[in-house]
């Protein structure tokens, strides 16, 4: 081994900052089912600070068959029918990573808990942030929990495995700023149009490209090539930038003509590829409700500071400071790199002066990602269930049915409605459909279908042809499942839920907005915002 750091492979994704955030978090799992323990496994391994499992049942032999962290013996004592599932899960999860502190609470009945606050905070300390995971909870418990997490401003990840169907739903704590979304294909931040003095001076200092000797000519960094090209263009076009499509092509041709041999001079090829950077400047649209209103959130303050900065710098925004690799001589590249970096540091300092009461980390992330920073909020589960989706959401849902999956009946949204219907069924019958002894299980299917129709109506989808033509088969299939715990489905959604938890905890990447449905019949997934 060449490193002692067991976290090496994940640090390459979220860095030391993300790792610290994990270490400062306590994850509370309610419900020790396979979906829940799998979610927690994927969080204990990368090193959250601590966790607590809350549950109200004893270990059953079914648990042992489908839940890897609920074992038939624990510390050499038999568990089935004897030990609390919360305790056994806790001990087996704790054993995965000595850095993580595990705790459990075995409560008499989850359904009887009216006030969650004390229970949720019981095993945490004041430094820690809390994230709640609800696994396969029955609808009554889940709705109470959803409402209380919402008022306690705690992020809640809901995970469910139901036969071949799996579901993950996020309920964020209010408006969450996404300061480090790491977009995959962001263009380089070069500011060739709205430039700054140090860069202008450097471009000047290179002089006339046509006078350079050939090796040098083939190693002028492409941002410089673009600046020279656009200056020449403006000089011959009355100070205007290329605007129309033919003009833009002409501009590219002008770069090609500057090259001595376009097949050999990679820097000119790179310049042509990035020609648009010479005449476009990315914009940031300040969210009105953040800048104008009396919002005092961190993100509002950051955007207000940005507004001030932009006015002062004639429309220019704080610079990121990193530049991509490009064909260049070492000298030119290192010089260019330091020009961008120095300017970025100056900009950051100015922003820090503008928002002195905010954490440095946040200001830094904000400046580094100024074009992609955004915020996200979700409706709580309780809101989703009690009030109909707004018109836009309803339209989106209808749209997703207009573009069905290859086999219409596979469309995940149709199965999501089915899961909601199973919850509605439970609320009336106190059990899930299909739980009766084996001969008469199918009798529940028509009852479930009635619930399905009501659910479809709630989401504004009752008249959709796709819904009507498939609800019978879907309800029959869901009744067949009898809320079966299939380990593989639990493990898929546990994986999804833990990815989302990591994104919420580290404040990096973009979380799911807000529901993922995994249809294990053929392995298709769907994303829906409710």
């Amino acid at each position: 081994m060449a490193t002692n750091d067991k976290y090496d492979r994940q640090l390459r994704l979220w860095g030391a900052k993300g790792q610290r955030a994990l270490g400062d978090t306590c994850v509370v799992l309610i419900g020790g089912t396979a979906a829940g323990t799998e979610t927690l496994k994927n969080l204990v391994l990368p090193g959250i600070g601590s966790f607590c499992v809350i549950d109200d049942v004893l270990v059953s032999k079914e648990d042992v068959a489908s839940n890897f962290f609920v074992t038939s013996t624990c510390q050499e004592e038999p568990t089935i029918g004897k030990k609390a599932r919360a305790q056994v899960a806790c001990e087996n999860l704790q054993e995965l990573n000595p850095d993580v502190l595990g705790a459990f609470q075995n409560v008499p009945k989850l359904q009887d808990i009216k006030d969650w606050k004390e229970i949720l905070y019981k095993e945490t300390n004041s430094r820690q942030k809390l994230l709640v995971i609800a696994s396969d909870l029955d609808p009554l418990v889940l709705e109470t929990l959803s409402a209380q997490c919402s008022s306690l401003q705690l992020p809640l990840v809901m995970v469910q495995s139901y036969g071949l169907m799996g579901c993950v739903k996020l309920q964020l704590s209010g408006k969450v700023p996404l300061l480090d979304p790491k977009p995959a294909n962001a263009p380089p931040d070069l500011r060739l149009k709205k430039s700054f003095p140090a860069l202008d001076e450097f471009v000047q200092s290179i002089g006339d490209l046509s006078k350079l000797e050939s090796h040098e000519h083939g190693h002028v960094p492409y941002p410089i090539v673009l600046r020279k090209a656009i200056e020449a263009w403006r000089a011959s076009h009355g100070g205007q930038d290329p605007k129309t499509f033919p003009e833009k092509n002409e501009f590219k041709d002008s770069i090609k003509n500057m090259s001595r041999d376009i097949h050999k001079e990679v820097n000119f090829e790179e310049a042509i590829q990035h020609a648009y950077l010479a005449y476009t400047e990315r914009e940031v649209f300040l969210p009105e409700d953040l800048v104008g209103g009396d919002d005092s959130s961190m993100l509002a303050k950051l955007f207000q500071a940005l507004d001030t900065f932009r006015e002062k710098h004639d429309g220019r925004l704080p610079l990121n400071g990193a530049i991509p690799d490009m064909t260049a001589s070492t000298n030119h590249y290192v010089k260019l790199q330091s020009i961008y970096k120095t300017q970025a540091e100056q900009d950051l300092q100015e922003m820090k002066d503008l928002c002195q009461d905010l954490p440095e980390d946040a200001i830094q992330s904000f400046c580094a990602n100024v074009f992609s920073v955004t915020q996200m909020s979700t409706r709580s589960l309780v809101e989703e269930l009690t009030s109909q989706p707004d018109e836009e959401t309803m339209d989106d849902l209808k749209m997703s049915l207009m573009d069905p999956y290859e086999v219409e009946a596979h469309t995940p949204l149709l199965w999501y409605l089915g899961l909601r219907a199973c919850h509605a069924f439970f609320k009336k019958q106190g059990r899930y459909p299909g739980m009766k002894d084996d001969e008469s299980w199918e009798a529940d299917a028509p009852l479930l279908e009635e619930e399905y129709k009501a659910v479809a109506l709630h989401y504004g989808l009752a008249d959709e042809g796709l819904v009507k033509s498939n609800q019978g088969d879907i309800c029959h299939e869901l009744t067949r499942y009898a809320n079966a715990e299939l380990h593989n489905v639990a493990s898929v959604v546990g994986g999804v839920a833990s990815q989302e938890a990591v994104k919420i905890i580290t404040g990096q990447y973009i979380p799911l907005n807000n529901t993922y449905l995994f249809n294990g019949i053929v392995g298709v997934g769907g994303l829906y915002k409710f």
Binding site: A184, S329, D438, D473, A482, G523
Partner: protein, 454 residues
């Protein structure tokens, strides 16, 4: 190596267990479905519900397809650990696992069957022991070694292969080997009883994919080779003359400096001493050129081409793979057709599609591969085309129906055929004569080439 087969035996479970509050895999298997395997787009078999049973896991049912089948898990790393757990939790007791690697400390953030004390031990052995101990109904047999060291009869003995490999070359080898096991009858149709499904998973960071390969029926791994481009390396002139980034300095240290300093010794990427040497050389060069950012961690990343890896993604992909294995063996639901990808960094993006067969796939198609070359081009140049073109072969040997053009092995034959390498191909074969290519990457598959000369 423990090679004993044991029929799964289950210790009688304590009966104090409360009445079940939810169904199980057995519930699904005992009830008819409108979504049985035969109703899907990739039908393999007809679903027949099993008789109602008092068992708890399918391992309790001595006759079920899951307890009868023999599964091979290829790789006991991030995916392999998950796959073994998923098989245990799906009641599939007869499992073999093969892996060459030993446990490294950087595995511990996701390969959850390993602990600090296991560092340095065989992955396959420790993983098998853990599962057998934790799940007494399991009989996992470990093979510590290279997949290439097992002969085809080994692979032939399995009903399903679930693969969690981290590199393209091993996946190509496995794919070609298993595709080569399929018997083709006189009409050119594959004999279904010789088709062993491969369920293949792969991950990188927050993204991953799972796919079902039914050799000769669906597309195979080789059909999708272009989706796995060869690793890009830095241009040598950048490394040697115009370094700009820390990676260029690191590449300079281990590609150019190391062989110069230690002509006799191969760089051991797992040795802290060797890696420190590379790091220090890289740092030296970076200082000389005023380049920032050479760290030990970055050095490791560049030298070992480290792919970021986390537990969560492995869990998603592995469980999707084993879920397909359960359905393929029991027919209790439909089969993934054929490729599922998951991307989790910007929201969640998940997409399933049919990966089409490549009509002239070197492995799973019998079609002749067409190559154009000039009349003067030599056999050596043809070998270059086979290695560097889209076929990406390793060490091709070539024959025609009546003569041997070039053989890589054995040494005597190589020597005898070497003289052909500099001759024009057009002088070695008759017009329209096909060349048959064999290559270790293609295993027992013979590839036919039709050359047209311009």
């Amino acid at each position: 190596m423990m090679e004993t087969e044991k029929t799964p035996s289950i210790e009688p479970m304590d009966t104090d267990s409360p009445a079940p509050t939810r169904g199980s895999l057995l519930t699904l298997m005992s009830r008819p479905s409108r979504f049985g395997n035969d109703s899907g787009a990739l039908p393999i078999g007809e679903f027949e519900p099993i008789a109602k049973s008092s068992g708890v896991t399918t391992a309790d049912l001595p006759d079920s397809a899951l307890s009868q089948s023999k599964i091979l898990v290829v790789g006991a790393g991030g995916l392999g650990c998950e796959i073994l757990k998923d098989l245990a939790m799906s009641g599939m007791p007869n499992v073999h696992v093969i892996d060459l690697d030993s446990i490294d400390v950087t595995n511990l953030n996701r390969q959850f069957l390993f602990r600090q004390k296991d560092v340095g031990s065989s992955k396959a052995k420790v993983a098998a022991e853990f599962i057998n101990k934790r799940c007494p109904w399991m009989n996992v047999v470990a093979h510590h070694g290279k997949i290439q060291d097992k002969d085809p009869s080994f692979y032939k003995s399995f009903n399903v292969i679930v693969s969690g490999l981290d590199n393209v070359e091993a996946r190509r080898w496995l794919n070609a080997t298993v595709c080569g096991l399929v018997d083709i009858d006189e009409d050119g149709d594959p004999d279904p009883s010789t088709i062993i499904p491969i369920i293949d998973g792969g991950t990188e960071g927050f993204s991953g994919q799972a796919r079902v390969i039914l050799p000769r029926i669906t597309s195979c791994f080789e059909c999708s080779l272009e989706a796995f481009p060869p690793q890009r390396s830095f241009p040598l002139c950048t490394i040697a003359e115009t370094p700009r980034r820390p990676e260029h300095c690191i590449a300079y240290a281990f590609i150019l400096e190391w062989p110069k300093q230690f002509p006799e010794k191969k760089l051991d990427k797992d040795s802290p001493d060797d890696m420190k040497w590379v790091y220090e050389k890289a740092l030296e060069r970076a200082k000389k050129y005023n380049i920032e950012g050479v760290t030990y961690m970055h050095t490791m990343g560049v030298v070992k081409t480290i792919i970021p890896a986390v537990a969560s993604t492995n869990a998603i992909v592995s469980a999707a793979c084993v879920g397909e294995a359960v359905k393929i063996l029991t027919f209790c639901s439909q089969t993934l057709n054929t490729y599922m990808m998951y991307m989790g960094s910007e929201g969640v993006y998940s997409h399933t599609f049919v990966y089409e067969k490549k009509h002239d796939c070197a492995v799973c198609s019998t079609e002749t591969h067409k190559i154009e070359m000039s009349k003067e081009a030599t056999l050596n140049e043809l070998i270059q085309i086979l290695r560097e073109g889209d076929l990406r072969l390793g060490a091709p040997s070539m024959t025609t129906s009546n003569k041997t053009l070039y053989m890589q092995k054995p040494p005597a034959l190589e020597k005898a055929t070497r003289k052909n390498l500099d001759k024009p191909v057009s002088s070695l074969i008759d017009t329209d004569e096909e060349i048959v290519v064999t290559d270790p990457i293609l295993q027992s598959i013979n590839l036919s080439l039709a050359i047209s000369f311009q």
